[in-house]
Symmetry: C2
């Protein structure tokens, strides 16, 4: 499959990634055909909306993800969180330190395995997450409304192929 | 069109943005259905590859974009760059200060309008941009290969709708 896509792209006249062919034009059409440019612009657009409308600009998307996973899987291990969110252990630990500092989560030792520390939402964290979910739902819908359900499912599946 | 997408999504059984329906599961499937989560993961994946393979980790994607636009449109105005790259003026000016400091571009006054400053690549900037284009081309192809040409065109057009 990978080969097919590549060869087909190279044998066709359209070469969106042939960055050398810039002569003429204002450069923007070439830039606009780059995958990286479009992914970044889409990200910036959604990140700005998130920042503006979720958690009064004080909650990063990754923090929302952590709270969500801690709710779905109480006592989740840090190593599992790091894996699921594609974060390195050090960044995750620093993030959880801050979330713990604001009283939304707490680390507790597992009763089965004393060496294993799990992450739990505090009662305050549970309440906060409920409010955040409503805001994130509205944030998501502002972008989802631009697509039909079929387009949306397709977009999500193509994006997953970029980060799998 | 916008309405159609929204209503269809609400009347169908699938509700990827209904963040309140998390009971059961490990939370990841719900997270994975969020548009923002997938856009961010795709962005992180491409940004990491860019950082690893382009300009020895010292050139940010936005810097590459600025160099590209300055090549395509020598003497381009800062206000136009800011508009094309969706940056605020202050961020752009700070960025250009740094690129100018490294000798890749220079600001020169327009001969027609002395108040207007334009951006030009220096000879060093022209050479540097050539090398960067090759690296960016290879970076793009590593991701493009995952799609057929039709999928790729579709993905770019759906992403554009997210940031338009």
């Amino acid at each position: 499959m990978k080969r097919t896509g590549r060869n087909a792209a190279e044998s066709s006249g359209r070469r969106p990634a042939r960055v050398t062919a810039v002569s003429g034009g204002d450069g923007l059409p070439m830039l606009q055909s780059l995958l990286g440019y479009n992914v970044r612009r889409a990200h910036v657009s959604m990140a700005r909306d998130f920042q503006r409308h979720v958690g009064q600009g004080k909650v990063r998307p990754v923090v929302f993800s952590i709270l969500l996973l801690a709710e779905a899987q109480p006592g989740i291990a840090q190593v599992e969180l790091a894996h699921k969110l594609a974060l390195d252990k050090a960044s995750l630990v620093a993030l959880i330190d801050r979330i713990e500092g604001s009283g939304l989560v707490e680390r507790r030792r597992s009763t089965q395995d004393r060496r294993r520390q799990g992450l739990f939402l505090t009662p305050q964290g549970i309440l906060r997450l409920q409010a955040l979910k409503d805001e994130v739902g509205r944030h998501e819908r502002r972008f989802m409304e631009r697509f039909t359900p079929v387009e949306l499912a397709l977009l999500v599946s193509l994006l997953q192929r970029l980060h799998d």
